[in-house]
């Protein structure tokens, strides 16, 4: 192929009508929180810009990110984005397999050197030279480094690629690490969640494809448009939190009345994600709405923070798992006893020396 196609040409070739294409542009503008005036801009960009290829690698993972992605609420967005992505490489979704698929990977990297987006789902385990995850006959970590070398930008899908997630939970026998431990010289966009919300995934990737640049990232590399607020900041149960009305036990009156789940361990106050605004499954609901606290799935090390049902979480560094209050009351109790003993001895001494002091 001599001339690289534009997005629009690809879409038309995939059988997408112009009408659908324009719909897609306005949906995208809405999903990204841009005004309606942006729809024509997106359309123009897609008609004139060369298509950015996307390579999608799979490491140590459960594939929940892909599962989430293909359930995107707006089928149009999904179809368009998927059809664009499957043109290149995604060993789970693409038609070809085996050597043929690997051939596509090499070719795409060669052809679009320095221009493609690398999306990584899952992460590389490093123990035993990476033998705990073999993909295409090689340790995944090698494939990852190989594909990352010539990428323009990298997306870390889900908590696995972003933080490590369950396979990196203590004691992490395979030594699974988030991808930024392996790729240190490229910008990485973290899209954490277990899995991330479909609309967040399509939103991030569409933004990058249409505008040809990275979305604005926060301090930890997450796109600000979806991760700048905590679940708690936009939770519809928040008035009950502020009022001091909590579910104390799962089957109590408060649970039936939809009170705040803070006391039964909701991690909404410490979790950055878009669930309380975008919600899940075509915006139908999200965990808190279904009556269960947030477990903090998009946060670093959420598996290692003790029970999902405790507000004060354990501190594993202290050997026996204890929370701050258990440690604090034990220490304060000890110090209190020591003070009492010291005071008693002081009083006795003072009585003894009463005479010789004055």
């Amino acid at each position: 192929m001599s001339q690289i196609e534009t997005f629009y040409e690809v879409m038309r070739r995939q059988g997408i009508t112009r009408r659908s294409f324009l719909k897609y542009c306005s949906l995208t503008a809405a999903a990204l929180g841009l005004g309606p005036t942006f729809a024509p801009k997106i359309a123009h960009a897609m008609e004139t810009k060369e298509r950015t290829p996307v390579l999608w690698l799979h490491g140590l993972e459960c594939t929940c990110c892909s599962e989430s992605f293909i359930r995107s609420a707006h089928p149009l967005v999904k179809d368009v984005v998927l059809s664009m992505i499957s043109l290149d490489y995604d060993d789970t979704l693409m038609a070809s397999a085996g050597h043929q698929a690997e051939e596509v990977l090499h070719e795409t990297i060669k052809k679009y050197k320095g221009k493609y987006i690398l999306a990584v789902e899952g992460n590389p385990p490093l123990n035993e030279d990476g033998m705990f995850c073999i993909s295409g006959g090689k340790p995944f970590v090698e494939k990852l480094k190989y594909a990352a070398k010539d990428a323009a930008a990298i997306i870390a899908w889900g908590s696995c690629a972003s933080w490590g997630c369950v396979q990196a939970a203590r004691p992490n026998p395979t030594q699974a690490v988030p991808i930024h431990k392996v790729i240190t010289d490229k910008p990485i966009i973290k899209v954490p969640g277990c899995p991330p919300i479909a609309e967040v995934m399509t939103g991030v990737i569409t933004y990058m494809l249409t505008f040809g640049k990275m979305p604005e990232l926060d301090r930890q590399g997450r796109p600000k448009m979806f991760y700048s607020q905590r679940i708690h900041d936009k939770c519809y149960r928040r008035p009950h939190f502020d009022a001091g009305q909590f579910v104390e036990e799962w089957d109590d009156e408060g649970a039936r009345k939809g009170y705040c789940l803070y006391k039964v361990g909701c991690k909404g106050p410490t979790t950055y994600n878009a669930c309380s605004t975008v919600r899940w499954n075509e915006g139908i609901s999200f965990p808190i709405q279904a009556g269960h606290g947030c477990i903090g799935c998009s946060e670093d090390g959420f598996w290692d923070k003790g029970s999902f049902y405790d507000r004060l979480t354990n501190i594993p560094q202290f050997g026996i798992e204890k929370n701050a209050d258990e440690i604090g009351t034990a220490v304060a109790g000890g110090v209190g006893a020591a003070i009492a003993a010291h005071a008693a001895v002081s009083a006795i001494k003072r009585a003894q020396h009463k005479g010789d002091q004055e």
Binding site: D218, R219, Q220, K224, S228, Q229, R230, D233, P239, H240, F241, D242, A243, G244, Q245, F246, E248, G254, Y259, Y262, K263, K267, P269, T270, T271, Y272, G296, E299, D300, G301, F302, K305, R311, L312, T313, I315, N323, A324, D325, I327, G328, T329, V331, A332, V335, G336, I339, H342, A343, V345, S346, K349, R350, H353, Q357
Partner: protein
């Protein structure tokens, strides 16, 4: 006391030679200037509020009856916490300012003389006094060295830790790009994630509670058993000595 004790060994701390002479003759020295005393009691009051409200933020009171619109208990508790947090932090900054412009005793809190062997000897002496191994304590115009050491590690460092972690958490509420987020937001990834900062902030409270218990006990005990006043000094500023022996 024995005459062999050299002048430099006496009355350690930041005091100047003239001051030392004064102590021999008179029985009171002006130690804590008004801003230091004011700061002390503002901090006492605010930290008490911070501990109570902070405890209740992590382990809230039983559920309030009635409609959400008629209640704002958690909101008030958090508001009190943040207000006291601001007060304590501003007062702390003011205290640092006073350490620069105030008298020499205002600086003691921030500069334990960790590199002076004479100072460590005094620490040792004080430790022995607390362990009942020394019959008579020494006189001090400012802090006794052991107290100074404890003040620095428990109080100064503890307070800085609480202010930094507190405002990091506060920045989460104010939102990204807010001043608290810009100044202290880096603490959150440093400790792992927000949940970890909460846990450390809470542990920090217990650290301070242990300090407060010890501090109050020692102040009362010293007031009774040492050779100088303590509690009234923090109220009126004057250090009173109970005898006119030099050391």
């Amino acid at each position: 006391m024995t005459m062999s004790v050299k002048d430099e060994d006496l009355l350690t701390g930041e005091e100047r030679a003239q001051e030392k002479q004064l102590v021999r003759k008179q029985t009171a020295v002006y130690v804590y200037e008004a801003p230091v005393r004011l700061w002390h009691w503002v901090t006492v009051f605010s930290v008490l509020i911070l501990c109570v409200t902070g405890y209740l933020i992590g382990a809230p009171l039983p559920t309030m009856p009635g409609e959400a619109i008629d209640n704002y208990l958690m909101g008030y508790i958090r508001f009190a916490h943040f207000t006291a947090g601001y007060i304590v932090a501003i007062a702390f900054v003011g205290r640092i300012y006073w350490a620069i412009v105030g008298n020499s005793h205002a600086r003691e809190l921030f500069f334990p003389k960790l590199l002076s062997s004479a100072w460590w000897k005094e620490v040792w002496h004080e430790a022995r006094w607390y362990l009942f191994m020394e019959k008579t304590p020494k006189k001090y115009i400012g802090h006794n060295p052991l107290g100074q050491l404890a003040m620095f590690f428990f109080f100064v460092l503890g307070m800085i830790f609480m202010i930094v972690t507190g405002f990091a958490l506060y920045g989460e509420g104010l939102g990204q790009g807010s001043w608290a987020d810009e100044m202290f937001g880096w603490v959150i990834p440093l400790m792992g994630q927000s949940q970890d900062v909460h846990t450390w902030h809470r542990l920090g409270m217990w650290y301070l509670i242990v300090f407060i218990m010890t501090h109050v006990y020692v102040a009362v005990r010293e007031d009774i058993m040492s050779r100088q006043s303590l509690i009234s000094t923090m109220v009126g500023g004057w250090r009173m000595f109970k005898d006119d022996r030099p050391d």
